[in-house]
């Protein structure tokens, strides 16, 4: 019975602390400088996050656009003619490209998402 009790305690610890730890470790372990996470939210709910993305010219990057909002958004980067339309709530969308033009470029939401839709814009800085 003592062994079984110990097993039960271990299971409870693994299931509670272990689950939390796994998620945190996974997040740290899968960090990749080439993959840039971009949260899409309506301006009154936090806007693009991060609002400014800095990348090096000539280096391939992958933007992972996560719509963590409750309405449909889109991603539009006019300078590179990149359009991802209809990114639905809860959806993750990826786009890979190599920025070569240097400068500061706006990216914006391409789907009317809220009364403040026009303010939903961010900046891509290519150095």
């Amino acid at each position: 019975m003592r062994k079984q009790e110990l097993l039960a305690v271990i299971l409870v610890v693994v299931f509670s602390i272990g689950t939390v730890a796994t998620v945190i470790i996974y997040k740290i372990a899968t960090r990749d400088p080439q993959r840039i996470e971009l949260l899409a939210r309506a301006p009154e709910k936090g806007n693009w996050s991060p609002k400014t993305i800095t990348v090096k010219s000539g280096e391939k990057i992958t933007l992972v656009i996560k719509n963590v909002d409750t309405a449909t958004h889109g991603f539009y980067l006019p300078a590179y003619n990149l359009v991802l339309t209809d990114i639905k709530a809860g959806e993750f969308r990826e786009v890979t490209f190599t920025p070569r033009k240097k400068g500061q470029f706006n990216f914006l939401c391409s789907v009317w998402c809220s009364d403040y839709h026009m303010h939903m814009r961010g900046e891509l800085i290519v150095e």
Binding site: M1, R2, Q4, E5, L7, A8, V9, L11, V12, F15, S16, T19, V20, V23, Y26, K27, R41, K45, G46, V64, K66, V68, D69, T70, A71, T72, D86, K88, A89, G90, E91, F92, V111, W112, C113, S114, D115
Partner: protein, 629 residues
């Protein structure tokens, strides 16, 4: 006074029947056989909320969005389209199926997106009329049946199944061995502990996302709730209490052991719950107040996180202050209806042979021994005859030194007739607390259906607190409906029943309480009927969230991007009619048995039964109207 009461009652009944029969106004413009209807979609309703067309017409819908991207999916016809703001989109179809169909938003548009619903009525609504016909027919058949009933049928369900029929599941050795193992049901509690850990984490990290793509919200309110209401409660009663992970930590702290048998006396303060509150009143009120926030819990991940955290912390704190499973018995919000409805379920934990218990002096099932704890639910297992407060924790199987416990399958609802045997047990009888639990569950469902599956945008705005004034109004209306209107009506019916019977001795309170138990079968049926409207449209989200529980971009089963797919939503009205009819059949069957118990002789019982029967039939018609009228 007497005539006055009859008049009110008849007026109400005819009001329900006539109200359900109101001729609806047709929508849009008819040119030739083409009906063109403009629909404006705006968070979280369509204008018009209800569309009425004639069968056979060609319907052309023009959809316009007033705020964000919205969709439109029509149940039954299985047609859909979506529209961006600033566009107008057109969809046509031939209305060749009659009945009421829900149409719902198909593109996530905000928190309340799953509740953005409108109704299309294709007239004549034959399905609904057939439903009413069947309900009334069932009522008439029940009268005829009870008039014909032979004396020897009284202890049988529908005159066929003997009420004392039992099938002992634990007579099979492997099952009994499993029930006696300390790992059962502990292993299931552990699995649920893990699942709820994931729910907590996901509802916390995904706290700003939409609820329909959140693991916590979907598992709790779509999977768990629906399983609870359609399978667990109707079939096995308090099955969830058996495998619920929330008391795990509290039990551990009290006993000092997780799995093995540790201290029998709690290491906490071990106080006794006040006598006044040893009934269903506390849980009835806690659930009722919790439903004030139904506009948040089921749609916002963070609200789900807060609710679950409060319940988990509450369970731990109560376990440290009070004895044993006081939390489960008198505090847990979902304990009340599970306990009450468990009296209807087809499973029970009971003593095999009462004579063995009579000779057994030490009553280890109550005091505990080295094999198991004394009943954590504060029942006396050797004397158990009602399911309300039995949590099916299976400790008595372990602690009984004579192997005298049994897990039985039984005919539905036999506990509804059971009176608590022990006279000293003042807190475990049929009482007003249980009656009110039954009665408030009517109003809670009414409010839930209207906010979650109804077409009214103004009500949804009130519930999700767009302004405090509207929310306040909703709360006042909701409380009056639950605690005055419904119980008042039931009181009136009880009064009429007593009048009609001609019996002067029986107390009105007794009539009120005893008849309240015939609300249980239709109560369970109506909650199951409601749950079909939760799982079938929203079930496909489960595939998304199972593949990516923490919104980290995982795709464990390859279904993370599975599109929203309503499953057989056209069948919901049929399922609801069937479920309501089954519930009503049980209610009528048991109702007459209650009448026989309440009133002295058969003639009185028959006369006293009529008002209650009319009430039950009207109540079923009312819910039929709500679901499909």
């Amino acid at each position: 006074m007497k005539n006055f009461a009859y008049i009110i009652f008849l007026a109400l009944v005819s009001f329900i029947f006539l109200g359900c029969e109101k001729k609806p106004e047709l929508s849009g413009e008819l040119v030739g056989d083409q009906r063109t209807i403009e629909i404006i979609a705006k968070r979280y309703a369509y204008t018009p909320e209800v569309i009425n067309v004639n069968e056979g017409e060609t319907v052309v819908l023009k959809l316009i969005s007033d705020d964000v991207t919205h969709g439109f999916y029509l149940d039954g016809y299985e047609k859909g389209f979506f529209v961006h703001p600033g566009e107008t989109k057109v969809m046509g179809f031939k209305a060749n199926m009659a009945g009421r169909f829900s149409f719902r938003c198909s593109v996530t548009c905000g928190d309340f997106h799953p509740y953005m619903i409108g109704h299309l009525r294709v007239i004549p609504n034959n399905r609904y009329h057939a439903g009413i016909f069947l309900v009334v027919l069932l009522g008439i058949a029940s009268i005829a049946w009870s008039c014909k009933k032979q004396r020897n049928n009284e202890n049988k369900l529908f005159g066929v199944i003997p009420l004392d029929w039992r099938f002992e599941l634990t007579k099979y050795k492997p099952i009994r061995k499993m029930f006696k193992s300390r790992w059962f049901p502990f292993i299931f509690i552990l699995i649920n502990f893990f699942i709820f850990m994931v729910i907590l984490i996901s509802s916390f990290v995904g706290s700003f996302s939409s609820g329909n793509y959140n693991f916590g919200v979907m598992i709790t309110w779509v999977l768990w709730w629906v399983l609870l209401m359609t399978l667990f409660v109707p079939l096995i009663g308090r099955f969830w209490c058996m495998v619920c992970p929330f008391p795990l930590v509290g039990d551990w702290l009290q006993r000092g052991k997780l799995l093995a048998v540790g201290k029998h006396k709690s290491r906490g303060l071990n106080k006794k719950w006040p006598k006044k509150f040893r009934n269903l009143w506390p849980v009835t009120m806690i659930l009722f107040v919790a439903t004030f926030f139904s506009g948040f819990f089921t749609v916002k991940p963070f609200a789900t996180f807060v609710l679950l955290s409060i319940i988990i912390l509450g369970a731990i704190v109560i376990a440290l202050i009070y004895e044993k499973r006081t939390f489960c018995l008198y505090v847990c919000p979902v304990s009340g209806f599970q306990g009450l409805y468990a009296n209807f379920s087809a499973a029970e934990v009971r003593v095999k042979d009462p004579e063995v218990c009579a000779l057994h002096q030490t009553k280890t099932c109550y005091t505990g021994n080295e094999q198991g704890y004394g009943c954590p639910w504060l029942e006396l297992p050797f004397d158990l005859n009602r399911n309300t407060y039995c949590g099916m924790c299976m400790e008595c199987f372990k602690s009984c030194s004579h192997d005298n416990m049994a897990f039985n399958i039984r005919p539905f609802g036999t506990d509804l007739l059971a009176e608590r045997r022990r006279t000293d047990d003042v807190n475990n009888r049929r009482g007003l607390d249980e009656a009110f639990k039954s009665l408030t569950m009517i109003g809670i469902l009414f409010a839930f259906f209207l906010t979650m599956q109804g077409p009214h945008g103004w009500l949804k705005d009130m519930v999700r607190v767009t302004n405090l004034h509207g929310y306040g109004l909703y709360l006042v209306g909701y409380t009056i409906f639950n605690f005055l209107l419904v119980p008042g009506l039931f009181f009136l019916v009880s009064y009429l029943s007593k009048l009609a019977s001609g019996n002067k001795e029986v107390s009105l309170k007794q009539v009120f309480i005893d008849f309240s138990y015939c609300l249980i079968p239709i109560g369970i049926a109506r909650w199951a009927a409601f749950s079909f409207g939760v799982i079938l449209p929203n079930g496909s989200y489960l595939l998304n969230i199972l593949s990516d529980p923490f919104s980290l971009g995982w795709n464990l089963f390859g279904t993370a991007n599975f599109p929203w797919t309503p499953i057989f939503t056209g069948s919901i009205p049929y399922l609801q009619t069937i479920t309501l009819l089954i519930g009503l059949a049980f209610s009528l069957e048991y109702g007459y048995k209650f009448a026989r118990k309440i009133y002295a002789d058969e003639k009185e019982a028959k006369r006293g039964w009529i008002p209650m029967l009319v009430f039950l039939v009207s109540l079923s018609v009312f819910f039929l109207w709500l679901f499909e009228g």
